[in-house]
């Protein structure tokens, strides 16, 4: 049984509370939506990510009060190259939403969420460590898993699996 095709039409998805809230705030912040395999994805403009998360957290209809995960996908050699992926969970509503931000490879930087959720600290450090995406406003943006003097960012697609020899 093949999965149902993904819905990417914003008109069909604008009733979803998170999409509705973001559209009501700033339609330019929503660059795209996708509903696929029962999971909601919202592509958010780079400069709006912190405010969008703050809105979704405070809005009672959404109440996405828990940051589950921050990670990144490298689409090399396509541009924009990086997708920073945030998974939010609403503990009261038992719902999830995925926020995505696309970043160009040349100056991959995005605002840190540590002021909203201090727990973003380690996750953002991990993304910085393995992808080289910088988080502005992060209190301690240092490598976390790799040694401090490591060269290169191992999870980038142009980094060989066996490492540089």
């Amino acid at each position: 049984m093949a999965p149902a095709p993904a819905i990417t039409d914003i008109e069909k998805l604008k009733d979803h509370p998170a999409v509705a809230r973001l559209l009501a705030w700033n339609p330019a912040a929503v660059e795209g939506v996708k509903f696929d395999r029962d999971e909601m994805t919202i592509i958010v403009a780079r400069e709006s990510i912190r405010e969008a998360c703050a809105l979704l957290r405070e809005d009672p209809a959404c109440a996405f009060n828990f940051l589950s995960d921050v990670t990144c996908v490298d689409r090399y050699p396509a541009e924009p190259r990086f997708e920073v992926v945030y998974h939010l969970l609403s503990i009261p509503k038992k719902e999830r939403v995925r926020l995505k931000v696309k970043l160009n490879g040349a100056s991959a930087a995005i605002e840190s969420l540590t002021s909203l959720w201090p727990g973003a600290n380690f996750f953002e450090r991990e993304v910085f460590d393995l992808f080289g995406v910088r988080f502005t406003g992060h209190p301690y943006l240092r490598r976390i898993l790799m040694p401090e003097d490591w060269e290169g960012y191992p999870l980038r697609k142009d980094y060989p699996v066996e490492g540089y020899r």
């Binding site: 049984m1 093949a2 999965p3 993904a6 696929d36 395999r37 999971e39 994805t41 009060n65 828990f66 940051l67 589950s68 995960d69 990670t71 996908v73 490298d74 992926v85 998974h87 969970l89 503990i91 038992k94 999830r96 995925r98 959720w117 201090p118 727990g119 973003a120 600290n121 380690f122 996750f123 991990e126 393995l130 240092r142 490598r143 976390i144 898993l145 790799m146 040694p147 401090e148 003097d149 191992p154 999870l155 980094y159 699996v161």
Partner: protein, 401 residues
Amino acid sequence: MAHLTPTPVLEPAQDRTMILNMGPQHPSTHGVLRVLLEIDGETVVRIMPDIGYLHTGIEKTCEAKFYQQVVPLTDRIDYLCPMTNNLCYVLAVEKLLGLEIPPKAQWMRVLMNELTRINSHLVWLGTHALDIGAMTVFLYCFREREIILKLFEAISGQRMMTSYFRVGGVALEPPLGFFDRVRKFSDIFPGRVDEYENLLTGNPIWKMRTKGVATLTAEDAIALGATGPTLRGSGVDIDLRRDMPYSGYENFKFKVPVSQDGDVYARYLCRVQELRESIEIVKQAVAGMPEGPIKADAPHVVLPDREKMKTQMEALIYHFKIITEGFAVPEGEVYQAVESPRGEMGYYIVSDGTAKPYRVHMRAACFANLQVLEKMCVGRLLADVVAAIGSIDIVLGEIDR
């Protein structure tokens, strides 16, 4: 040889404080956690966990493997609950594929998953008590853990790195007499939990070392991304098995233990109650085990039976194709989370339509849970750091991946 210099280095901020290095080979850091502590006398002023000693680049390795070859890697992330990781990964891939899993496979998964939770909690209880100075509990816990490991060996051939769950079902039919052994274990186990509780729950020394120690408020726990018993010990009532059920958990009746105090004792009580609840789920799973196949009807994904492969041309071709070129997974992305013994274990898998995952990310519960250490320890005594680390039940394999 710059790698030999431990980094980062903390400098004392005041004249009266000093830096204490704990780990990475300290017995109470449960593996290779290094903690840098700035202390003023015996009071902790600053605490900084240093991780990465066990980093093996599993996420990168996954990108070079076929989907079915990733399963054994997932065991090695969290070596105390291999099946939980297996489950989370296979559920994510099955969601990408849109596979229907037969009921018996789902129930087998729940059964094994709960045994894994008991196994993991037993190691936690034993080592946590050992850290605080109650040595005997360790021996009792490992006595019961041995029974579970023998069950794992009977069903999968391995004591620890089981890889028992496969995309589309489980690897093998359980051997003859397996359910009787599980039933026997589930009959004796509640009595054994009473034994542990007799040793600890009312013990005045245990209470002095754990009550009011390393407290964490619900707001802090949520803000710092804590999950599992660390979150429930602070009074937040969420359990993914009940609230966002997967693999047929909606068919089981169990309570979710929550405690309001947010201290080491509260987290201890939550986990011990979870032992009792898990064994109830095990009993229900054995009693209601459905009949039927243990693998999905999807020949392009699931390996055929050995017997069929030897007698039927078609099965042989499928077998050859799956082994040599894997199976293609439709394009897309999923985030699948399960309730691991330590909290929310999540797999984020991106597929580009080929037979190898484009990106696999593991959201490890301990990785986020470790961040609460600062809130728990700063301003408190050095000896309580050991109790705090024990109470969040860290597994470094999962943190470092």
